[in-house]
């Protein structure tokens, strides 16, 4: 066999499953880890951005999530569960950031309008603020973001994981470290509260 054959067919990361990538990355395979990072960076960053409504803080959280994942992938018992595991790390980091904000401001963040972030709904593809998109972003979405900021963070997280990321109750329970029963309760309280705010907005 010629060494040239080694090139063979290009490896498409789309067809390599999470469990395989996570196992390889846990064994120190940098390329496999990069595939995982490319696969999940938008979702981890997106969840952090919607939780925190602050791009800089969301990027810091996402970086911390993946660096932590790189260092601790070996501890993940089920490599196939890497997706929920990443969400779990992100969830914990986001709640930590919110807690620190509270300590700094001495007032509950949730009752304050967001003072540092740009509206999430106005972000361009490259992370910059696109003025055209800013005007196009639906007023309903902006009202929803404001309503989300008023929710207690654990309710906000559960609502986002269910509605935006499409996780199952069981997956959300793993991510937030609660029972499925508790997740159902939080989700229904979040929906009731959001519907109330959205009705008033309309």
């Amino acid at each position: 066999m010629l060494v040239a054959d080694f090139v063979g067919e290009p490896v498409s990361d789309a067809e390599i499953d999470d469990a395989t990538l996570a196992t390889r990355a846990a064994e120190g395979d940098v390329a496999a880890f990069e595939m995982l990072l490319r696969r999940y960076q938008d979702r981890v960053f997106g969840m952090s951005l919607r939780m925190l409504a602050d791009r800089a803080e969301a990027e810091d959280v996402a970086q911390e999530v993946f660096v932590t994942a790189w260092r601790r992938l070996g501890e993940l018992a089920d490599p196939g569960a890497v997706r929920t595991w990443l969400f779990r790390i992100a969830h914990r980091q986001c709640l930590g950031v919110i807690r620190k904000r509270r300590d700094r401001r001495t007032e509950p963040t949730d009752t304050l309008p967001d003072s540092t972030g740009t509206a999430v709904g106005t972000a361009g593809v490259d992370g910059s603020i696109d003025p055209q998109r800013a005007t196009e972003a639906g007023a309903g979405v902006r009202a929803l973001y404001r309503a989300l900021r008023q929710l207690p963070p654990p309710q906000r997280a559960v609502w986002l994981l269910a509605e935006v990321d499409g996780l199952s109750y069981a997956e959300i329970a793993q991510v937030v470290g609660a029972t499925e029963q508790a997740v159902r309760g939080r989700l229904s309280r979040a929906r009731a509260r959001l519907a109330e705010v959205m009705r008033a907005w309309r």
Partner: protein, 191 residues
């Protein structure tokens, strides 16, 4: 909608809120959010730096061996990556390597002991001999070492790419059927 809901002002108000929430939630979920390009760079810089501090094997042994930090050593993880790549890129097959252990035997030089798990799609017949030759050739060409032992562990996978080992944890994998589907939260919306 029943008679009561259709005529009750309270119910109508509640439905309006749910409808507004539903519409805004759909729009929010459809919004593309991309991680900034700097995220990948920042993370991979840390990862590559840390990956360099790995266990290594000697590329040159015996009296000619050079000492010092660049004495021709290669990380066992780098060798594992070469082996995985050789398996992933077999022309015409969709094989994937999973676990790969590379050990430098203490009682032999210029050879390695390798154990590697290969995911084999159910419809494929694994050409064991051909794959062994390919791996040995690649390791020899790219690392300059021979293989003393090469243990191939074939793991059959179904067409969906799910190996039997993963089937124990269906909850974390998107599945087309089963109880999980019914257990997914209904997205909010008017009843």
């Amino acid at each position: 909608m029943d008679q009561h809901t259709a005529t009750c002002a309270h119910c109508q108000t509640a439905l309006e809120g749910l409808a507004a929430l539903h519409a805004a939630a759909r729009e929010l979920a459809a919004e593309p959010v991309r991680a900034p390009a700097s995220l990948l760079d920042r993370v991979m810089r840390v990862v590559r730096t840390e990956a360099r501090d790995d266990a290594t094997v000697s590329l040159v042994t015996g009296p000619d061996a050079v000492t010092g930090p660049d004495s021709g050593r290669v990380s066992t993880k780098a060798v594992a990556s070469v082996i995985r790549f050789a398996i992933d890129t077999v022309p015409g097959l969709r094989l994937h390597a999973r676990h790969c252990q590379v050990v430098e035997p203490e009682d032999a030089v210029d050879v390695l002991d390798v154990t590697v798990e290969v995911l084999v799609p159910a419809e494929h017949h694994l050409d064991d001999r051909g794959l062994r030759d390919r791996i040995e050739t690649v390791v020899n060409a790219h690392v300059g070492l021979g293989l003393r032992t090469l243990k191939l562990v074939a793991v059959p996978v179904d067409v969906a790419g799910q190996s039997p080992a993963d089937a124990d944890h269906p909850v974390d994998r998107p599945s087309a059927a089963g109880p999980e589907r019914g257990d997914r939260p209904e997205r909010s919306g008017p009843a």
